[in-house]
């Protein structure tokens, strides 16, 4: 049952955020979302007794146990305090928003985002599994992102949202690092297990967690996101960026404090970061002229104070920290809502335009003033209590402990009370900006009144109860905590017990006697009021000083710098020129392989099976090299193509030398079709006019070319001199080609049987070529007029035509001959297919493309499809009868007159290949010829 309560604290808002009212009633029903925090508050209150008794509620469900993931939740005093804050402040903020955005159609969406955030925040404080915590942690960032950028048409809102998300995401990632490190050390993600274990966690992991906490709680130097986050609607600022979300980091530090109780680095880091933030935030807050900016920076400062206290780790400090969490939520919530109401009524948040609102909004003035005074730390308000404790803690650290708090020894070296001085300074600043806030808004007269004062008188009528009541309630709390210290004490004691591990020895009271702390409070008031009176002197200077010194500038300049850097880097190498990319590729290849090859050749041995060349082979090899070089040197398109053809034909000869008749046939045929193809498109290319590269580029190209050639040679050379493993494959093929596959031509048997699957792929490639070419030619703008020479006065050669007529069927018969004998002698589907295509191409050459239609009254595409289906179907046939794909069968049949004929299913496959090749070759050639 308690477990159910915990999960419902998270699920309620999550489900609530999924609720979408019908468009018609959306605006009117939107405030109903407020039921969620109210319900939560009731649950939280119902858990009070348990918490006060010092008990923990824990529940766990397996999530991904193999990853160490359990959805485990736990509620102790610390969590309870935060759930109270989340739901309590939530109630006020939700109700306030209903009035604040009563006419705004986005109200419903705001609520849903707020509920999403609420769920996330509840998850953070209830999670017992570090990963679960991280999940909700990041979810708070996401929801905060959506809420800051809520007014997404404003560029500042978007930038602020991104800044906040970006900086907190850094923290989240570093935290993940820490979590992983913890898991590597302790093998668990469960916080309770880690805490119970009390084995120390490495400082590095601790620091990772701290980075996460600092970013979330806007600690120096990550504080810059918080002022920018003020673009969010004011209820959001009050809720997320004052009362709850920014306290998530504080929560985390508090939660982990027991684990790092004896870690000097931890406390030194926490204390010093907190101190710097405290002071710096105060300075910044004083300079602001925007109400929300002032409050934001004050929040930064106050969070610094809490962090500082958590770092001191003494009883007083820890108690002060917890207490201030509560106080700050009350008065800062009230002040933010005040800013919202003022803006809502007066139309501005600019202190220079505001002023004298007191007569118009007396109630608000009272409430806001009380809240401000609580912030300033004046008695008898809540803020005073925590301020006193703060001073006590600092004094204790500085004077009494004299560096015995090991982590802060550097702060109090030689007994110099640096920490105390800084604390007083910061408190003075707090006093100052608190007074500036309420004085400037309600009491003083506007220094720069707005041009069209729609504000003042108009406002009074509209300041509805709903926009004031939550403020009154919150500042009432701030007052109450001061007047009835035992109430605050009761609320924070369970949390304190969790952090400190023991019940508190001290008791809260307004009057502690004449303590040093009280003296410091007095000093603060004196300093603060003098500063307030003299403020005009230096505030102007301070506001101008801002331009010089700003971490925001660091952020924006860093961002721009980064973008510039990435642009510059991209421009450096992403030139868009494929030539450059090829250069990179080849240079990488050469660079990557030359060293290993160098080492390789240190211990080479020549293989025994190297064959001695014949003289004529040498000559023809030389010619092949010459032909290759001719390709590089020629300036004539046709010579270029013909030289390429020469290389190909010479390759065919080498295939003959190497006893590969099938290859020789294929090579010759392919070369011829390629030549026709090239000649078909050649005239569309511009002439190879000499447009030389700069000498340097040319040299570089030559270098790469030579390097690549050399590298490939060396690579193959290495293969011939290095160690090797003998192959069993050729002997298997030779032994079984006829025995098991029924073919004498082993190459063909490999192609259609042993490795028929390769051939299936090969014809697929081939048929795609025709699809691709048809698409290339069929779509897009049609070509311009041919660019090359056309001799208009020309007529078909009757000699060529009659020759073509005579030879067509002879060549076809030859092709069929090669097809049918393929299994036993050089030939086969591919060779026959190309030969058929050549025969038909020759017809087209002698006549024209329309002549092909007479020869072959169907489309090449259809032939391709039939071929593909035949080949695949032959292969699938065996699957249907329970054998693997492409399993072949052979049968011998007797026919009258024909004698015994061997029929193999591989033949069907080969005919498929034949058809694909015929169709593709013709299809491509025809498509171009007709273009």
């Amino acid at each position: 049952m308690p477990g159910f309560l915990l999960i419902s604290l998270i699920l309620l808002p999550l489900l609530g955020s999924l609720v979408s009212w019908p468009e018609r009633w959306r605006q009117r029903l939107a405030p109903a979302y407020s039921l969620v925090p109210i319900l939560q508050l009731l649950i939280v209150i119902s858990l009070w007794a348990t918490v006060q008794a010092g008990e923990r509620i824990q529940c766990s469900w397996p999530w991904a146990p193999s990853l160490g993931l359990y959805v485990s939740l736990s509620l102790d005093g610390l969590s309870w305090l935060f759930t109270g804050l989340i739901s309590g402040v939530g109630v006020f903020v939700f109700l306030y928003a209903a009035f604040y955005m009563a006419d705004d159609p986005t109200l419903s969406r705001l609520y849903r985002f707020l509920l999403l955030f609420n769920a996330a925040m509840m998850g953070v404080v209830l999670a017992d599994n570090l990963i679960v915590l991280l999940v909700f942690w990041e979810l708070t960032s996401v929801s905060s992102f959506l809420l800051i950028g809520f007014r997404s048409h404003r560029a500042a809102a978007c930038e602020g949202a991104i800044k906040a998300f970006g900086l907190t995401a850094i923290g989240g990632l570093v935290m993940l690092f820490g979590i992983l490190a913890v898991y590597a050390e302790h093998g668990t993600f469960e916080l309770s297990a880690l805490l119970a274990n009390s084995t120390p966690i490495s400082t590095a992991a601790g620091l990772c967690f701290l980075v996460g906490a600092f970013t979330k709680s806007a600690q120096f130097p990550f504080h810059i996101w918080l002022p920018s986050a003020m673009e969010a609607p004011t209820p959001v600022s009050a809720y997320l960026h004052a009362a709850t979300m920014v306290k998530a980091g504080v929560y985390l530090i508090a939660r982990l404090t027991p684990l790092f109780a004896d870690d000097p680095t931890w406390s030194a880091t926490v204390t010093s970061v907190g101190t710097v933030t405290l002071v710096w935030g105060g300075v910044l807050a004083c300079k602001q002229v925007d109400l929300k900016a002032l409050l934001a920076n004050s929040t930064v400062s106050q969070l610094g104070l809490i962090v500082l206290l958590l770092g001191l780790q003494t009883e007083i400090a820890l108690f002060a920290a917890v207490l201030h969490i509560l106080n700050h939520a009350a008065f800062k919530g009230a002040l933010f809502l005040t800013a919202g109401t003022v803006e809502h009524e007066a139309g501005t948040r600019d202190l220079r335009q505001l002023g004298g609102l007191r007569p118009l909004m007396p109630t608000l003035t009272l409430a806001a003033t009380l809240a401000s005074l609580s912030m300033a730390g004046l008695p008898p308000l809540g803020g005073f209590l925590s301020k006193e404790l703060f001073y006590e803690g600092v004094l204790e650290a500085d004077l009494l402990l004299r560096g015995n708090v090991s982590g802060i020894s550097w702060l109090s070296e030689d007994g110099f009370p640096l920490l105390t001085i800084l604390a007083v300074t910061a408190s003075g600043l707090t006093f100052l900006y608190s007074f500036i806030f309420f004085h400037g808004t309600f009491f003083a007269s506007a220094s720069h009144p707005p041009e069209q004062p729609h504000s003042s008188s108009h406002a009074a009528h509209h300041a509805t109860l709903g926009l004031i009541a939550p403020i009154v309630a919150l500042s009432g709390l701030a007052v109450l905590f001061g007047l009835v210290p035992s109430l605050a004490e009761a609320l924070v004691t369970p949390a304190f017990r969790v952090i400190h591990g023991a019940p508190p020895q001290l008791h809260l009271a307004l009057w502690h006697g004449l303590t040093p702390a009280l003296g410091l409070s007095g000093l603060t008031i004196i300093l603060g009021s003098s500063a307030f009176l003299l403020r005009q002197r230096f505030l102007q200077a301070a506001r101008e000083y801002q331009a010089l010194y700003s971490f925001n500038r660091v952020y924006t300049d860093g961002l721009t710098g980064f973008t510039h850097l990435s642009h510059w880097m991209r421009a450096l190498y992403m030139t868009g020129s494929v030539t450059d990319y090829i250069r990179y590729l080849l240079v990488a290849l050469i660079a990557g392989l030359s060293l290993p090859l160098w080492y390789f050749f240190e211990e080479m041995t020549l293989r025994a099976d190297i064959v001695r060349p014949e003289y004529y082979e040498l000559g023809l090899a030389g010619l092949m090299a010459v032909a290759g070089i001719m390709c590089c040197r020629t300036r004539s398109r046709i010579v270029l193509v013909l030289s390429l053809g020469l290389v190909g034909s010479l390759m065919a000869i080498f295939f003959v030398f190497f006893s590969a008749p099938d290859l020789a046939l294929t090579q010759i045929l392919v070369e011829a079709v390629s030549l026709v193809l090239f000649l078909l498109v050649l005239r569309y290319f511009s002439v190879l006019r000499p447009r030389p590269y700069a000498p340097r580029t040319r040299l570089f190209n030559m270098g790469i070319s030579v390097g690549t050639g050399l590298l490939v040679s060396l690579l193959l050379f290495a293969a011939n001199v290095g160690p090797s493993s003998p192959s069993a494959i050729p002997s298997y093929y030779l032994a079984n080609s006829y025995l098991l596959a029924g073919g004498h031509n082993v190459v063909n048997v490999i192609l259609v049987d042993f490795r028929g699957f390769d051939t299936m792929g090969e014809i697929t490639v081939f048929s795609v070529a025709v699809f691709g070419v048809l698409a290339l030619v069929g779509l897009g703008v049609r070509g311009q007029q041919p660019l090359g020479a056309m001799f208009l006065f020309s007529f078909p050669s009757p000699i060529l035509q009659s020759f073509a007529r005579l030879t067509l069927h002879l060549m076809l018969v030859f092709a069929i001959y090669l097809l049918l004998r393929g299994h036993n002698a050089p030939g086969g589907g591919f060779i026959a297919g190309v030969l058929t295509a050549v025969a038909l191409t020759f017809q087209m050459m002698a006549f024209h493309t329309e002549a092909l239609l007479q020869e072959m009254p169907w489309k090449p595409l259809q032939v391709v499809v039939v071929g593909l289906l035949l080949a695949a179907g032959t292969g699938l046939g065996s699957v249907f009868i329970g054998y693997p794909f492409l399993t072949s069968a052979i049968g011998h049949y007797s026919f009258p007159l024909l004698g015994e004929v061997e029929l193999a299913t591989a033949m069907g496959f080969d005919i498929g290949v034949y058809l694909v090749v015929v169709g593709t070759s013709l299809g491509i050639i025809r498509a171009i010829a007709e273009d």
Binding site: P613, L644, Q667, S674, V681, S686, Y693, I729
Partner: protein, 110 residues
Amino acid sequence: MEFVIISVIGVLFGCGTYLILQRHLLRVVVGLSLYSHAANLALMVSGGLKRGNPPLLTTDAPYVDPLPQALVLTAIVISFGMTAFATVLAFRVRQVYGSDAVDELAGGEE
């Protein structure tokens, strides 16, 4: 013999690279063809260039290794398909883009 062919392969690769790095698209396509020729030769060498009969069981042993031949055949066919496509592509580029200068095809990286 292996080393002769390997040298030729090297030369063809060098020439191919040189052509691929040129500005004229036609040269690039021819360079790619040279590449595939060279690669096919390399594949042929992979069986070792033993002198022997073609792997037709109607002739007498010794036979050469039939596997590289089958591989080369597949490679020839594939590279033929690729070259055909590349050729037509290049010619369509000239038609549609109005240029067959590779350096004028730069851009597209924003």
